[in-house]
Each structure stands twice: as C-alpha cells, then as structure tokens.
Symmetry: C2
Subunit: 308 residues, 2 copies
C-alpha cells in the first residue's frame, strides 16, 4: 500500500482499531476487530498487530502509534501515567517504546491526577482530547462511557479531571440489581422520551437522593406497573442527571465539548441542555482518537527521525 | 409447652424466625432457620411452619402472627400493601388470612406510599416500627439494610418514608464492579476507622460526586496503593454519607430512632454523629420485630376471639 506515513491504533479492553494514515492524517485503510486486551494477551500483542499490518501489505518501516489499555500494566508495555497538567508534548515524550525488531512502535501514556484534587486516572481519553488541545479549546470536555470523564482543558493542557462511574452503575443496576424485573426486556433508551428527561431532572434536582430514586423505580413497577422502557429511560436519566450535578460542581456551566459516539452523544446532548449548558459542541470520539494519534505520531516520529 | 398465648414469625427472603410468646410477650421458645422464601416455597409454607410448631409440641389452637416477605406476591398468601398514613390498627385489620384447617394464621401487610411523595414500599419494617408507634415516638426512624428505610413517625402512624438502595449498592460495588481489586480480601468495615469517617464526610459534603468518589477508590488503589481495608471502609462510608445527605433532605436533623442489629448499628451511629444528628436512640431490630408482632397478635386475636 502506497502513501502510508504511519499507523495509528486505539487498543482497548474489548476492541482493536487500526488506521493507516498519510502525512496529512487522511485514512488510507483501516482494520477493526474484537481483539481487545484479554483476547490479544493470550495470542501475543505483536502477533495480533503484525497480522493486521500484513493484511494491509505494509512495509516494516512504517511506524506505529498506539493508545489505550494496551499501555496499562495488563497490556503490552506499560506506559506510565503522566501527571497533570499534561499536553501533547508531554504525552508524546513519555510514550512507551515497544521492543520490536521490525519497526518503531510507541504507546501513549495515560494521565494521572494526584493530591488535593483527588486521585484519578485516564487512559485512552487523553488522546481523544489532543485535537481540542491543538485547536486552542478552553473549557470542559465531557467524554461519556463506562467511566465518564469530565476534563478541564486550558492553556494547551489537561489541568484537571474527574471520572464518574455512571456507565458501570447503569450496567450493574440494569443487569444485577433488584431493578432487573422493572427494566427487563427494554430496548435502547430513547433520548427524546419524557421518562429520560424526568430522570435527568430528578437527578439534577436532588443528586443526594439517588439511592432513593433508584429504589422508587422498583416501587413504580410494583405499585403502578411502570413499563420497562420508561423505567430504563428513567434509570439512565437519573444517573446522567446526578453526574451532571457533580460536573457542575467540578467545572461550572461554561462551554462543554462533548466527545462521544453512538447513543451516548444524543443522551448527553439532551441531558446537558436540561442542565442549562448552552454552549455545547459535539465531536465524534473515533475521529478524535484518530486525529489525536495522528498528532502524536507526527510529533514523535518527526522528532525521532530528525534526531536519528 | 404450657403458657403459650400465640406464635409470632418474621419470615423473610432468606431467613425464618419464630417465637412462642406468653400473654405479656415474653419469649418461651424460639426457632431459627435459613428457610427463607426460596427454600420454603418449594417445600410448602404450611409444611415448614407446622414442622417448627410440632418441634415445640404446640397445640393446634395457638394462633400465629407473621410479617415479612411471606406476605408478598411470591409468598404464602399476599397481604396487600396498606397506604400511608398507617398505624397498628390499620395494619392489623388488613392482615391477610391464611387458609388453614389447623389454626388462625395472619400475615401483616406492608405499607405503600403513592402520589407526590413518590412511590415507595416496605414489607417487614412496618412491624419493627410498631413498638415505637405504641410508645408515642415522634421523629424519624432509620432502619439500615439492603434497602435502608427512613420513616417519618407521628401521631401514632407512619406518615411517609423513603427507601435508599445503600446496602445493595455496597454489595454490587464490592463484589461485581471495577472496585473489586481495590477492596478484595478486606474484612468487615471498622466503624471506628479514619477511612470510614472520611468516606462519610465526603459523602455528606458532596453527595452529587458519588459516582466520582467511587472511581477515586480505584484510582487511590492504582496510584497510591491504598489497602483493601481502608478502601472498603471508605466505600461503606461514602454510601452511608450520601444516604444521610438525602435523609437530611427528607426529614431534617431531629430525633432519630435507629432500628438496627449487627454491624449496621455501630456504622450508622458513627455516621449519624458525623452528620450532626445529636438525638439518637438505638433499638435492636429483632426485639422490635418481635414486640411489633406481639402487639399485632394481641390486637388481632383478642378482637377475633371477642367477635367469635
């Protein structure tokens, strides 16, 4: 394949996504698979990576920039967390060098926060933030997920952040709690539904009542026969509303860059509007991680080639 | 066995407790077993009950008053919820009649709250409250558990209540979440530990940050090597502190009757003190349920015998 300048890979717990990019960051080819950490660890990380590169008939000289859980302790090579504040240069400089006889392979580190602001970590999201940082964004970035991140970006750096277990709580409650019979059989949450909006409002208005609001979902099922679709939407809304109440404390109601993909984007857009956040820009999470990896690759490999 | 006036039974999801009482409510004999709803449903509720009565050599004329999940839809006979406000007389009048050729058997109903106050239900706890109601208590009762109850008692009635899923969240988070490695191997939570107190304070100060505070437990394990004992105590404290922040909204900081047994009593005493609740009286949950069942039995069976 001609014109490929570098390879970028987002390698997470449950998925592997690879793109072959030209010098300007345009996508020439891509590979996707469910070969996340658990699957790849057994097969061997290098074997998995090289099989995808071979399928694209890429020469050995092409360098690879990666991010995500592949750089965790349980990954290929640990890329130790960089401390806040952290920007593009700091992350790129601290990229872990993966031993390979075939090519340059680097893994971007995550970011750790310590001290009075509270211990917190991210790994993978820092790369999604790089395009915002490059473009001079100043404000809060919101990255929904199993562990949603709220990140303060200013002066070309991540200055602080807070992770909320919202997605994981949603999963636990819908699948393993006393709420199961109330939500069983529900399809995806409709962001336009009244039930979702009501949940968001209740969560925003009284986040300290979350434990009670959750139980009321069961009581509404028992006493009023509330259906699973409405119950699941209220559950989702309650958890998002509570998260937004916390995020307001963390960073006010200024401009928010929402970095999301799939159903989360629409849910958070509705919830943020209900929280009174007027200035929202939405960015596709996959485009962001690819652009972030590209920026890191350009910075790192140009530097390394110049020095060599 | 001589002198037995009536039998009282607390029959829950996972346990069966029976006491033979004299006219004044003194315990003449007791039976305990893990024959909760699941186990008993298969064997047959009447078979289980009669086997315990036979073991005590009790005549068939002795009547039985029961409470708990045995009166739920999945129980022996459903004792439909009584609406708030509800007191001793209302609960006793609505006790479900269990068909039995051998003896009078009644099951006390639970209490349901509907309308603007929010849908909520209790079943079993209402019986624990009867001694407080009898003694003219006015204030909030707190009944810790898998689903903790905060109950407003006034004028000889339960006027309203709120259930918090605190215990269930604790169980889910410690056993099935990303926090498992941080708390694995911890023994019971020490109510006197700094970590527990810190969790309570954090939960009280910023209940809207619960989802974030939970993730920080993982971050503290990753970054600072916090041990499982401290992490579990902080987790417990966070959830209790958040519940108390909600309970303050529900009912202020007036007199609180804590109805608890086992480790929960000490944990809630510490947490309530940290929340600034000065007027706390502690009651043993088992003594309360037995005394409540006795009061209901005296009311119900005297009435029925008089009418017969």
């Amino acid at each position: 394949m001609a014109g490929v300048s570098h390879i970028v890979v987002d390698w997470g717990t449950s998925s592997f996504r690879l793109w072959a990019l030209d010098r300007a960051g345009a996508v020439l080819a891509e590979r996707r698979s469910p070969q996340g950490l658990a699957a790849s660890g057994a097969e061997g990380f290098e074997t998995v990576l090289e099989s995808h590169l071979a399928a694209l008939a890429l020469p050995e000289s092409v360098p690879v920039m990666m991010c995500g859980m592949v750089g965790s302790r349980a990954g290929w090579v640990e890329a130790a967390y960089v401390a806040t504040p952290a920007g593009l240069d700091g992350l790129t400089e601290k990229a872990a060098h993966v031993p390979s006889a075939r090519r340059l392979i680097r893994i971007l580190p995550g970011i750790a926060q310590r001290g009075a602001a509270g211990a917190d970590v991210m790994r993978g999201e820092e790369t999604q933030l790089l395009p915002l940082i490059r473009d001079g964004f100043k404000g809060l970035a919101c990255l929904p997920g199993t562990h949603s991140k709220w990140v303060r970006v200013e002066g070309g750096e991540v200055s602080g952040f807070a992770t909320f277990m919202t997605g994981e709580l949603f999963h636990l409650l819908r699948s393993a709690s006393i709420l199961v019979p109330a939500v069983e059989g529900a399809a995806m949450v409709d962001p336009a539904s009244d039930a979702f909006a009501q949940g968001v409002k209740d969560g925003l208005a009284a986040p300290e009542m979350l434990g009670n609001q959750l139980f009321r979902l069961r009581a509404a099922w028992l006493l009023e026969g509330e259906g699973p679709q409405a119950a699941l939407a209220r559950l989702s809304g309650l958890l998002l509303g509570t998260e937004l109440a916390g995020a307001a404390r963390f960073g006010g109601r200024g401009p928010v860059a929402l970095i999301a993909s799939g159903p989360a984007a629409a849910l958070y857009q509705v919830a943020l509007a209900l929280a009174g956040v007027a200035d929202i820009t939405t960015h596709d999470a996959e485009e962001c991680v690819r652009a972030g990896l590209h920026a890191a690759a350009v910075t790192a490999f140009r530097l390394e080639r110049t020095c060599a």
